[in-house]
């Protein structure tokens, strides 16, 4: 019986130990807002160790950029350099995925379902996606050189957890930001005692997306 009673105590001690161990990693809380003070969704915050640790990253096991309802889902996806990304087509029609971006030029000609092979993103940078059938479809893949990143939800908030203590260069990217990503770079030192809170106010530029709805049948299809 005593052994049985001691089990919860051991579990509790283990959890406490784990917590203590995890607390050796810091947390970065960020809030991203626009020029009007409104929270921004799909902003990406990246923390890169200043000393170069973790600069070389193994690719993530499996990542996906879905196509649902003739849109890329999610609109913005962050992967690390060296990642393979699958493009499952969950619509019951065919899509034709392509990118002209210097970070990755590729094309997945007309396909449906999950028949398209994965695409290796081996170069850091931004990859803008389009669909050759549905011109309004627009998606972004940010290929990051650090594993410490996060993407803002609708409330503009981002939590990057389990970041080893140290000095970091932190920057923000958003598909609609007016100024270059480099203008957002800040230095922060993360320690185990308290989370770092950072806030950015971005100036967004107007976005000119090709309309999905059209004045006449089929006009949006080319």
């Amino acid at each position: 019986m005593s052994k049985l009673h001691s089990t919860p105590c051991i579990l509790f001690a283990s959890l406490m130990f784990a917590r203590t161990a995890l607390s050796s990693a810091g947390e970065l809380h960020a809030f991203i807002k626009d020029q009007n003070g409104q929270p921004i969704e799909d902003a990406v915050v990246l923390a890169t160790p200043v000393d170069g640790r973790n600069a070389a990253l193994p690719g993530q096991a499996r990542n996906e950029m879905d196509q649902i309802g003739k849109e890329y889902v999610p609109h913005v996806k962050v992967v690390t350099t060296g990642s393979n990304l699958y493009f499952p087509n969950k619509d019951n029609i065919r899509h034709h995925v392509y990118s002209f971006s210097p970070a990755k030029v590729f094309e997945l000609p007309l396909y449906s379902g999950t028949s398209a092979p994965p695409v290796l993103f081996d170069k850091t940078g931004l990859v803008t996606l389009g669909c050759n059938i549905h011109d309004w479809m627009l998606g972004y893949i940010y290929v990051a050189d650090t594993p410490f990143f996060g993407k803002s939800a609708k409330d503009g908030k981002i939590l990057i957890a389990d970041v080893p203590a140290g000095e970091y260069s932190v920057r923000v990217w958003h598909p609609d930001m007016k100024w270059a990503e480099e203008s957002t770079v800040r230095k922060v030192t993360l320690d185990v005692t308290q989370a770092a809170n950072m806030e950015w106010q971005l100036t967004l530029k107007p976005v000119f997306r090709i309309p999905r709805a059209s004045g006449s049948t089929g006009a949006a299809y080319r």
Binding site: I93, R94, H96, Y98, N132, R212, T217, G218
Partner: protein, 316 residues
Amino acid sequence: MRILNFTKLGKAFLCAGHLLCASTMALAELVGNTEVEIRHDSNINNAQLANDIAGDSSLSAGISATGFFPLENGNSLSISGESRGEAFNHYTGLNNVSLGAALAFRKKWALGPYAPWIGLSLSSARLNYANDIRNGWRHQATIRGGKRILERWDVRAEYMVERRTANALPPDQPGISGDVFSQTSRAMTLNAEYTWSNSIFLAFGSLLRYGDVVASTREILTDVYKTYPGYYVAAPTRETAKIISASKAIAADPVFGPHFYAYRMTGTTYGLNVDMNIAVTPHSMLRASIVRQLTHAEGDNGYAKNVATLSWNYNF
């Protein structure tokens, strides 16, 4: 309104339906579209004289379905069917329903929205009016092309040949056909669309059309001249004579009143239009359009009109 007899078109649609079903199995894309439109035409009868000009408003609604088949190498094929009805405020004889089908092919020369493209389409529609003198078929062959030249500018051009066939009416004037509403024309349009914001699009267009036009004017066939005391001579007015001499066909047009005649002439139409399109939702568009058209017909005849349109379009 006369009961529609769409036997031939029905067969065509059955074939199209079979093709659509088969294509759906082959992962074709089916796009539906509905549209409701309010339209005002300041000169719906294309009249030249101020006393004859009749303006009217109409409410129309249409639904269409398009089977879209993406092909390899940026090509695509589409087949569509459309049904539409239009009701006029005053001239109810113009109330009409139409049922049509179209086949289109498009070629795109590269990837992405900036790639130049060209399209060919053939369409036919049956139009039946409340007053059946205009009943007939409309056939169109169109070649169009375009290119997005800048992020905010998209341009396109179109050349269309149109043939309308209607039942020939009995001749009203000796030696002049009564087949007024059978018309042939060619039209070229140039359009540029400017993206004002993420949801507002402005379109500017121009039209050059050459071919048959139909103008309906009041029957003022004679002026009475007093030649000398006690004697009078009846003769066509100068305007009427001009119209008659330039007409290839003339028939009574009771739609606009008991004394109206429709005249088919050859004319050139110049048009300009400005549209504002507002993407209300990702699937719907609100459009306001203003069109100005001037037509110069043979025999120094001509007319002008303004057309204002407000429409709501929903794709699904």
